[in-house]
């Protein structure tokens, strides 16, 4: 041991501060250039990439929506035919849900969670890198298919038998089903990494009861992903098997069931909404606390509400199927459950209102988005209570009322907090302050445009306009509302444009941010902006729920992690006492290669079932490369061995 001890270098009083930082920089640096870009396992770099890619898909899917709104602006319009329209709404829905909403929430979490935990890198960073590449490949494949006229055209839900082999020949549905597979794999991988990071890599002292609400939100979401995603993977795999190798899972004539697909799809599909929405609640809590200048009121009820939402979210799926003729008594239970989920949402809304009332709100752009969120989300939640009622749903189901409802929940409930969070985290990510004037203009346009675009749709739905129609006859009283919605949609798009333009301009022009420009309380603001590759020179020690408010100038730290090798500190799940010093993986090309091999398998399987057999060979080869043991990675030590600093922290 003495030889290794001599070479071991740890941070601490014995080591000069400048040397520590230089050593850490050297240890955690990735190779330069393109190669380094491909092999990186830095959660900050992968997180930025993930965010940018998700926003790219957001823009593409948004353009599809604008095309639809142009087509629907006037009755009996011939701008877009039924075939292209079917692809437009299917691509829009699928890409927004699978390639934007879920991934972008995970993307921000990949960036923020490890910093908020006070750790140097995410758990399983290679898995996270793999997730990114798989996601990128799946998303590109989906949009390239669309460009090649094999875009999905059966809706984001792809109900059988319409999507089955008999009524959807060709490859369009297969590209949809495989895109699901790609994004599922990516989402599951990230969720595992986030759960482990949150449960095992929190800074010493950050026991569960001191954990920020955002981390709770991501923890709940990640568990939901683990339980929800397998259902849709089953649905899409059964579907693709029915289509490609003649199984009969959904073929009624051979004893299959068309409704089985709906159950599987919605058992995932409803929690999916909460998977998108719960991280947004985390953003709101962070922003409210920072800009109201006080901790969020009712920390414990907030945490319980998040967990309750996560559990109840799995008990609502049948409210998407009230018109299918299921037993009425069963429907009644789902009505009750769907109405009940309004209670935890209400608890959170009231706690934020109390926080804002008691605090001293500072009107910066992120807070404006949160205020917009409260209004829009409450409205969307109330129409959610409406669609939970069986008789009411029988009228509004599959009409524009539902389109209005879920855009209120998803744009108001998730995209508004997301924009607030992007503005809020921008200084941390880039080191520059985002502009306030353009930020406010962007908010104004998005808020007005959003309500103009989607509020009329409530009335359209009640006036009988069904969803997913490529055009409509005039004379049914729908013309004016549709035109209004189109005008609103373009205003909303202009708002998004201003928002992102502001961030792009601020990249260059923004004032230098400093470590903690908003005076926030959580650990990601304890390091410089942008953070160094190793994130923290010394692991922070947490002694309260708001560490940067309680101990603003002198945040205590623990020492004793190696500076000459990548190490993270593993702490106890509940108490966050230091337990083990765990090596953190070096950059590697294997995640990329494995992702490419997996992509080959997934895409190949659309054309021949043999791809599933032969495609496993390259996947196996790359996985063997990935997991080939190296001497360095076998080392794992009790945290307190040879590290007196950590022993003190534990005490």
């Amino acid at each position: 041991m003495s030889a290794s001890e001599a070479s071991d270098l740890r941070d601490g009083p014995a080591l000069d501060e400048a040397v520590t930082r230089a050593r850490l920089e050297h240890t955690w640096r990735r190779p330069e250039g393109l190669w380094g870009w491909l092999v990186t396992v830095d959660h900050k770099e992968i997180g930025r990439r993930y965010i940018a890619t998700a926003l790219g898909f957001f823009a593409l899917s948004g353009l599809l929506a604008l095309t639809m709104r142009l087509q629907l602006a006037l009755p009996e319009s011939h701008l877009v035919g039924p075939d292209l329209y079917g692809q437009l709404f299917s691509m829009h829905g699928s890409a927004m849900m699978f390639l934007f909403a879920v991934p972008v929430m995970e993307a921000v979490a990949i960036y923020v969670v490890p910093l908020m935990c006070g750790t140097r890198n995410i758990a399983f960073p290679r898995l996270v890198a793999f997730s990114y590449w798989i996601y990128l490949c799946g998303g590109l494949f989906f949009f390239i298919s669309f460009a090649g006229n094999t875009g999905a055209d059966r809706g984001w839900f792809a109900y059988v038998p319409l999507s089955g082999p008999e009524y959807s020949p060709g490859k369009r549905v297969d590209t949809w089903a495989q895109m699901i597979t790609f994004t599922e794999v990516a989402a599951l991988a990230v969720s595992v990494a986030l759960i482990v990071t949150i449960l095992k890599q929190r800074a010493p002292g950050m026991s569960l009861d001191r954990m920020p609400l955002y981390l709770w939100a991501i923890l709940v979401t990640s568990f939901m992903v683990l339980f929800a995603m397998p259902a849709v993977m089953l649905a899409s795999s059964f579907l693709i098997m029915d289509r490609l190798i003649d199984t009969h899972f959904f073929n009624q004539a051979e004893g299959g069931s068309a409704l089985l697909f709906q159950h599987l799809f919605w058992f995932f599909g409803h929690p999916e909404v909460y998977i998108i929405f719960i991280p947004a609640l985390g953003f709101v809590s962070s922003i409210v606390a920072t800009f109201a200048r006080r901790p969020v009121f009712g920390h414990l009820p907030m945490v319980l509400a998040l967990i309750a939402t996560g559990i109840l979210g799995f008990g609502l799926w049948v409210h998407h199927m009230f018109a299918t003729g299921l037993p009425r008594l069963g429907n009644g239970f789902f009505t009750a459950a769907s109405i009940m989920i309004a209670i935890p949402s209400g608890v959170q809304i009231f706690c934020w209102l109390a926080t804002l009332w008691d605090g001293r709100p500072v009107f910066k752009t992120p807070l404006l988005y949160v205020l917009g969120f409260v209004f829009i989300f409450v409205l969307g939640g109330l129409t959610g209570v409406m669609v939970a009622s069986v008789p009411l749903d029988l009228q509004v189901h599959d009409t524009y009322f539902v389109v209005a409802h879920f855009h209120y929940v998803l744009i108001g409930g998730a995209v508004f907090p997301l924009l607030g969070a992007l503005h809020y985290h921008f200084p941390k990510i880039t080191g520059r302050m985002p502009g306030e004037r353009l930020g406010r203009l962007g908010f104004l346009l998005t808020f007005v445009g959003f309500n103009l675009a989607f509020f009329p749709m409530h009335i359209l739905g009640l006036s009988g306009m069904p969803r997913r129609v490529y055009t409509y006859p005039s004379g049914l009283g729908w013309d004016g509302m549709n035109l209004l919605a189109t005008i609103g949609a373009f205003t909303l798009a202009a708002g998004f444009l201003v928002f992102f333009l502001n961030l792009l301009l601020s990249l260059r022009r923004g004032a230098p941010a400093g470590d903690n420009p908003w005076g926030a309380s959580t650990l990601e603001w304890a390091t410089s902006s942008p953070p160094p590759v190793h994130a923290f020179a010394h692991v922070p020690l947490v002694r309260s729920r708001e560490p940067l408010w309680e101990e603003r100038e002198s945040l205590p730290v623990v020492t004793g992690l190696r500076v000459d090798a990548r190490e993270v500190l593993v702490t106890a799940t509940v108490t966050a006492e230091p337990r083990v010093r765990e090596p953190s993986p070096e950059p590697a090309i294997w995640p990329l290669l494995t992702a490419l091999a997996t992509t080959g398998l997934f895409i190949g399987s659309i054309y021949t079932p043999w791809a599933v057999v032969w495609g496993t060979v390259p996947v196996a080869v790359t996985l063997i490369g990935w997991f080939w043991p190296t001497k360095r990675e076998q080392r794992k030590e009790k945290a307190t061995e040879h590290a007196p600093g950590l022993a003190e922290a534990g005490a």
Binding site: Q252, A258, A342, S389, V396
Partner: protein, 320 residues
């Protein structure tokens, strides 16, 4: 024509119950939204000494308990309101069943890509009316609609009369409707069913019982014998062209059932499941270029020399 396909213009007891529920939910929702918005604006705009990011975050004080009481009260009120809504929803759901078991007429509605086949049930096979895209019902009589689909999932929806019910291949669903005032109400498929989902509409014509009976008798009759030479020639054109592969005209040898029954084509108000009105000009356009009117429709182009085409139109015009 506003209100011709609308949940807010109920024309039957079912839709009326639901409409009342819609207004109850809307009223309570509006109250909650207003209350939250006012609370939000008050919370952020009430007067304060200092507002800046440098301000030290105040640690929670004893006030927390008072805040807690307010939040608790708000949550309790939420629970009460939700319970009211839940009860109202269940009560309405029960009321929707009132008509069940009292039906005096049963109609099988079969959803096809993209039109509606309508078959009236009757003990005597000879008295079963078969028609398409236009459902006649007597006013004040509960009618049981049995729903099946031979191809993909569709959804039967006439918002002025009731909510929707899906047609699922391999299983059968039913819904009971009643109109309590005469009128024509438009319905539309509400489950995405492929290319022409947008034009899978139908009309429900609610009429007094005598008018309905007269209509029923007329529909039972076979097609009228054409009255002039051109129409007779048109019938020959029909019977030797591709039309007979899909359509039936009772009283002739055309007896296919793939497409809509044309025996009383001209008694209907719409063509191609609502894509166009049933006029001579639209009928001509529909036969000459179905894909131009309804891209993706199963109806092929029937290329005919102009005299034959005119004769065919003349014949079809006699099918009243």
């Amino acid at each position: 024509m506003n209100g011709f396909q609308s949940a807010l213009h109920p024309a039957g007891p079912q839709a009326l119950h639901i409409e009342r529920l819609i207004w109850l939910f809307t009223g309570i929702s509006a109250f909650v939204l207003l209350a939250v918005t006012v609370a939000l604006l008050w919370a952020v705009f009430r007067r304060r000494e200092r507002r800046d990011l440098a301000a030290e975050p105040r640690p929670p004080e004893l006030r927390e308990r008072r805040l807690g009481r307010v939040v608790g009260a708000a949550v309790a009120l939420t629970v009460v309101l939700l319970f009211v809504l839940l009860t109202a929803s269940f009560a309405t759901d029960r009321r929707l069943l009132d008509l069940e078991g009292r039906e005096q007429l049963t109609v099988h509605v079969i959803g096809h890509q993209w039109w509606w086949e309508i078959r009236y049930a009757h003990g005597e096979p000879a008295r079963r009316v078969i028609t398409a895209n236009e459902l006649h019902i007597p006013v004040g009589v509960p009618v049981r609609i049995e729903l099946t689909s031979p191809d993909v999932i569709h959804s039967f929806w006439v918002p002025n009369l009731h909510g929707k019910q899906d047609l699922i291949p391999g299983s059968s669903n039913a819904i009971t409707i009643e109109a309590d005032r005469p009128g024509t109400y438009r319905g539309q498929c509400a489950e995405f069913c492929g290319l022409q989902h947008a034009f899978m509409a139908f009309l429900v014509v609610a009429e007094p019982e005598e008018t309905f009976d007269a209509w029923y008798e007329r529909q039972l009759a076979p097609a009228r014998e054409p009255g002039n030479d051109q129409a007779r020639r048109g019938r020959e054109v029909f019977l030797r062209s591709a039309c007979v592969m899909c359509h039936r005209i009772r009283g002739t040898s055309a007896s296919a059932t793939y497409g809509p029954d044309l025996t009383h084509l001209k008694s209907r108000q719409i063509l191609a499941a609502g894509a166009v009105p049933d006029t001579r000009g639209h009928l001509a356009a529909w036969i000459a270029d179905p894909q131009g009117i309804k891209p993706g429709a199963r109806m092929p182009i029937t290329a005919l020399p102009p005299p034959d085409f005119q004769a065919l139109l003349a014949y079809l015009e006699t099918l009243e």
